[in-house]
Amino acid sequence: MNGAARGAPEKRIVTRMADRLYPTATFIGAIVLWQLVVIVTGIHAIVLPAPTAVIESMTSAFGTLAHNALPTVLAIVVGFVGAVAVGVPLAILIAASPTFEKSFYPLLLGSQGVPKVAMAPILIVWFGFGFLPKILIAMLIAFFPIVIDTVAGLRSIDPNYIHLARSMGASRSKIYWRLLLPNALPHMFAGFKVAMALAIVGAIVGEMVGANNGLGYVLVVANGNLDMALVFATLVWLVVISLLLTGAIEVTERILLPWSRKSRNEGLARTIR
C-alpha cells in the first residue's frame, strides 16, 4: 500500500546503519577525549580514572561484578513485577469505581509528594538489611507511573465504543476484557517503560542504603576504598543492565502489540498528509 512512500528496503537498512553510526562515533570520540584529558592533565586516578583503567578494573573484578549483578537484577525484576501486580489492579479499580476513585486517587496523587528514596531508611528499620527492603523501594517508586498510565489508558476510549458494545448486549466484564483493557495496553506499556527505569533506581538506592550484596553495595564499598576505577566499572554494568531491561519491555511491546505502533504511525501519517 505505502511501498512507494517507504522506499526500497536496502536503502532503509543503509539509512538505519548510518543513523547508528553517528551516536557510535560521538561515543567513541568522547572516550578518546576522556583518555587524552587524563593523560595530558595527569589527573589523579582517585578523581578520574582513565578509560583504560576502567576496562582493566572490569576484567580484574569481573567475578565480583557478575556475582553482585545477580541480586541487583533480581531485585529490579521482582520490584517491577510487584509494581505491575499491584498497580494494574489498583488502576482498574480506580477506573471502574467512582467511589474508590474519590476515596483513594487524591491520596495516591498526594502521596507522590513524599520522596520515595527518602523512605529507604524507614523500610530498612522495618524489614532489616537484605533483599526485602530494596524490592520494596523499587516497587514503591515503580508503581506510580503504572497506575497513572493504566488509568489514563482505560479512560482514553471514545465513549461511542462503549455505546456500541452496550448495544450489543455486552456485559461489563466483557467490555473490560475485550475492549477497555486491550485499548489501554499501549498506554500501559508507556507506563511500564518509565516504571522499569525507576525500579532500577529504587533497587540501587536500596542496595546503597542497606544491603550486603548487589551492585549498589559494590558502588558504596568501592567508593569507600577510593577505587574509582571499580566505581566506573560498576556504572558500566548498571548501564548495560538498564539498557537490557528497558529494551526487554520494548521488545515485549512489539511482540504483543504489533498493531499499536503501526496504528499510531498511520494515524500520524494521516494527520500530516
Binding site: 450489543m168 448486549g169 486491550p182 502489540l257 498493531w259 503501526k262 496504528s263
Partner: protein, 254 residues
C-alpha cells in the same frame, strides 16, 4: 415499529438548561428507511441515542415493537460517523466482534461475515488490519459489523459524513444493496439533503435547536435508485422543498 411520542431532552449546562429536543413526535413503520436531516446541533444525534436507549429522554416515551425503551436496545445494529474498529483485530474479527459481545457462536456467523464483506467489495481483505484500510473501507467494515447478526433495526448517525464525495456515493449504493429485500427498518441521521432523498422512503426535517420535527416528506421514485436519479426533476423538487424549509427556518439565507 418505532413510536416516538412527546420526547423532550434537555441538558443542564453552566449557562443554564439547553433544550436539545422539543416535543418530538415520530412514528416509523416496519421496513421503512427514514432519514433525519437538520442543521448541526439540532439534536438529531441525541434523538438517535434516545431511540437506541443509550440516552434517556427528559420527558415523553419511545417504544420499539410496543416495548418501552428504558435501557440499551440490543436488537439493533449501529453505525457511527467514526468506524470505531478495534486496532488489534483484523477485518473479519472486527465484524465478528458483534457476535462475540452477544455471546453467540462465532463459527456459525463466519460465512455470513465473509459474504457481507464480499458484497461491499472487501473480499480477500478479511485478514487485513484497520490501519491498512482507507476511511471508506473502514466504514464498510463497520457496516458489515452492524449487519452480521441480521438485526431488524439499523441506526446510523452520519455514517458517511467523514468520507469524500465519491466514496460516499459508493457507500450509498452499497447500503441500498445491503438493505434491499431484507425488510430492515433504518433510521439514518445525516446533514446531506441529497443523501437523505437518495436513500430514504421518508425524510424528516428538523429545525435548529431546540430540535423539532418541521417536515415529514414521503419519497418515492418510479425509477430504480441509481446515482443518475439525483438529476431527475422529481429528485430536484424534493431537494428544493427541503432547502426552502431550511430558508424559512433561517438555517440558510439566499
Amino acid at each position: 415499529m418505532i413510536e416516538i411520542s412527546n420526547v423532550n431532552k434537555s441538558f443542564p449546562t453552566k449557562d443554564g438548561t439547553v433544550v436539545a429536543l422539543d416535543n418530538v413526535e415520530l412514528d416509523i413503520g416496519k421496513g421503512d428507511f427514514v432519514s433525519i436531516v437538520g442543521p448541526s446541533g439540532c439534536g438529531k444525534s441525541t434523538l438517535m441515542m434516545c431511540v437506541a436507549g443509550l440516552a434517556q429522554p427528559s420527558a415523553g416515551r419511545i417504544t420499539i415493537e410496543n416495548q418501552q425503551v428504558t435501557g440499551p436496545v440490543t436488537d439493533v445494529g449501529i453505525v457511527f460517523q467514526d468506524a470505531l474498529l478495534l486496532d488489534w483485530r483484523n477485518v473479519l474479527d472486527n465484524v465478528l466482534f458483534q457476535i462475540e459481545m452477544r455471546g453467540l457462536p462465532k463459527a456459525d456467523y463466519r460465512d455470513r461475515a465473509l459474504a457481507l464483506l464480499k458484497r461491499v467489495g472487501l473480499a480477500s481483505f478479511e485478514n487485513k488490519y484497520p490501519w491498512e484500510l482507507s476511511g471508506g473501507m473502514r466504514q464498510r467494515v463497520a457496516l458489515c459489523r452492524a449487519l452480521v447478526h441480521d438485526p431488524p433495526l439499523l441506526l446510523m448517525d452520519e455514517p458517511f459524513g467523514a468520507l469524500d464525495t465519491l466514496t460516499r456515493d459508493q457507500m450509498n449504493i452499497d447500503l441500498l444493496n445491503l438493505c434491499e429485500g431484507g425488510n430492515k427498518t433504518v433510521l439514518f441521521i445525516t446533514h446531506s439533503i441529497s443523501e437523505a432523498i437518495f436513500l430514504s422512503d421518508r425524510v424528516i426535517v428538523m429545525s435548529q435547536r431546540p430540535g423539532r420535527v418541521v417536515e415529514d416528506i414521503r419519497i418515492s421514485f418510479d425509477e430504480e435508485r441509481k446515482l443518475d436519479i439525483r438529476s431527475i426533476p422529481r429528485f430536484v423538487e424534493y431537494e428544493k422543498r427541503i432547502y426552502h424549509t431550511f430558508r424559512k427556518l433561517g438555517v440558510l439565507s439566499g
